[in-house]
Amino acid sequence: MTTIAREHDAQKRDVTGASASGRRRQPLGRQLRTWGPVIWLWVAMIPFLYPFMFMIATAIRTPEEFRQNVVNVIPTQVTTEHLVNAWVAGGLGEAMLNSLYTTAIGVVVSCLLATTAGFFFLRNNSKPAKFVRVAIFASQALPAPVWLIPLYVAVSGWGLSNQLWFLGVLYGLVAARFGAYLMYAYYRALPSEMFEAARVDGASTVRQFRSIVLPLSLPPLATLVALTFVWSWGDFLLALVFTGASGNPTVTVAAATLVGQFSTGQQSQAAALAISMVPMLIVFAFAQRFLVMGALAGSVKS
């Protein structure tokens, strides 16, 4: 055992040594100066990592251990009780499906509307088209708390207010206005000779859209999909107003109303929060690049 460990250690030293071989010969003070910031940075990371570790530990440890020990985030007695509680009795399983459903609709709607509108803005630069472009973009400045309640009152009258698909469409629209701008900015940078050639070859507008624009749209579409997913999945205000009283909530609303239902309420809620984060974690793992691009586009656009 020890020899293996020692060998392993030696290997590790070798690996790190490859990049730091020059550094090793440097005096101690210099070494401290290079590694000081790193240690300091890891300390600064504790507040960013601890809440998630606390959440996971709370979600999977036994109530007895939780009561004895709140600060330590390394569980020794593990149980699935709280996860099951949240998933079944807390209705989180259903809520996850509801969220998936609304989010999927949101993603499809935003992609459809953003690509078509972006393509239109590229082709048509007449005064009215420009006005529409600016107006749609500017409408994002209307705060959700202003339009949400009148909209809710109006659609309640039509019986749509507790329909999940309607919430999904709303997510799509919120994202599509930003998406249309994202797409337009991207299309504008495409070489116009391409469209010229397609036109000469007799490709109709619809054909150009389908065969040239859509296949080329994948990079900005990935950004838009990632952003719409994160927005819709994480939304709370719209979901609370539209599904809070329907008994058919999305995952954020379900997690918010879960506490106090069980004797181990806090732990079940931590379990619910952890479960609700899983899709986010997957998106983050695979699409962080696109989320970063979305954050950048959001800050540069104005």
């Binding site: 339009w147 116009s192 918010a256």
Partner: protein, 309 residues
């Protein structure tokens, strides 16, 4: 990166539009246009109209002039809300300097800055409501923050952070600093790596330390993007605090942490005072428009000043 002028130069049509667009192509934008008007513009206009009525959805809503505004502004709890908003506005510098600082630290001299950036960025991807619920547990009277304080002998500092009127707002400021840090670091890091490195090299040659570089290189170089970030935060403070406030405190204790968007939700959907809620919506709209106008005017003035000097 393609130069815009290149396209415009080779193709006058990009500027003037394609010559052969036919009216039916408007169908491409029609769904988004109609939906934007129907879902966002008309309800907003309706909010303005209904603010002058005793709005009672499903029943008659008689016109009552400015009564809703009088009632809203005379309400001392609404003044508390506006003061809370002011407090959160004062936190904007903190929410700006912290991510700037981290971006500057990560710019150079740290191996594998991507790991740190990912760790910091993740919380800004997760739902604000979910994070709020998590922080309720962390900050609860018997939660890890207080237990840790007790463990290191600072038990006298332990308090129920979110139920204490003295601590609730600062704690919310810290939580939001934590949550917005990621987006800020990502944006500022990208801007830093996109800016010319010569300035930093020159500063280093002149023997400028980290803080000197931060003050005299990082901040001036990033000034335009910092302004955008601050503008976004200013609007955010008035418009999208709801998930935090709802999950962390429900506006409490008393009105110590209620914000405008939370109060609108409460007035309409908890208390059923739709007319007063509408007046509060219009106040929010006025604030947002005023803030945007101030931003535009400042930008214009600065441009003119730059041209003249």
């Amino acid at each position: 990166m393609r130069k815009d002028g290149l396209i415009l130069g080779s193709k006058s049509r990009t500027r003037s539009g394609v010559k052969d667009t036919s009216p039916w192509e408007w169908l491409f934008v029609l769904p988004l246009l109609v939906a934007t008007v129907a879902f966002f513009v008309i309800p907003s206009v309706e909010a303005i109209i209904m603010s002058f009525t005793r709005w009672d959805p499903g029943y008659d809503s008689p016109f009552i002039g400015l009564r809703n505004y009088e009632n809203a502004l005379a309400d001392p709890s609404f003044r508390a809300v506006l003061l809370n908003q002011l407090f959160f506005l004062l936190a904007v510098p903190l929410w700006t300097v912290l991510p700037l600082f981290f971006a500057a630290v990560l710019r150079k001299g740290v191996p594998r800055p991507g790991i740190f950036r990912s760790i910091i960025f993740f919380p800004s991807v997760v739902s604000a409501a979910v994070m709020g619920l998590l922080f309720v547990q962390i900050l609860s009277p018997g939660g890890p923050v207080n237990e840790l304080l007790r463990a290191v002998g600072l038990g006298s500092l332990a308090t129920s952070w979110l139920a204490n009127p003295d601590t609730v707002k600062p704690v919310i400021v810290v939580v939001i600093a934590w949550a917005t840090m990621g987006t800020g670091v990502v944006i500022f890091s990208a801007a830093l790596s996109g800016s010319s490195q010569e300035l930093f090299e020159a500063a280093e040659l002149d023997g400028a330390g980290f803080w000197m570089q931060f003050r005299y290189v990082v901040i001036p170089v990033l000034r335009p993007i910092i302004e955008v970030w601050v503008a976004i935060l200013f609007i955010t403070v008035f418009v999208s605090m709801f998930p935090w406030i709802y999950t962390l405190t429900k506006g409490g204790p008393g009105n110590a942490s209620a914000t405008l968007d939370f109060r609108i939700y409460e007035s309409a959907l908890i208390f059923g005072n739709f007319g007063i809620a509408a007046a509060q919506m219009v106040i929010m709209l006025i604030i947002v428009v005023a803030l945007s106008l101030v931003g535009v005017v400042v930008a214009k003035l600065r441009k003119r000043w730059k041209v003249e000097s």
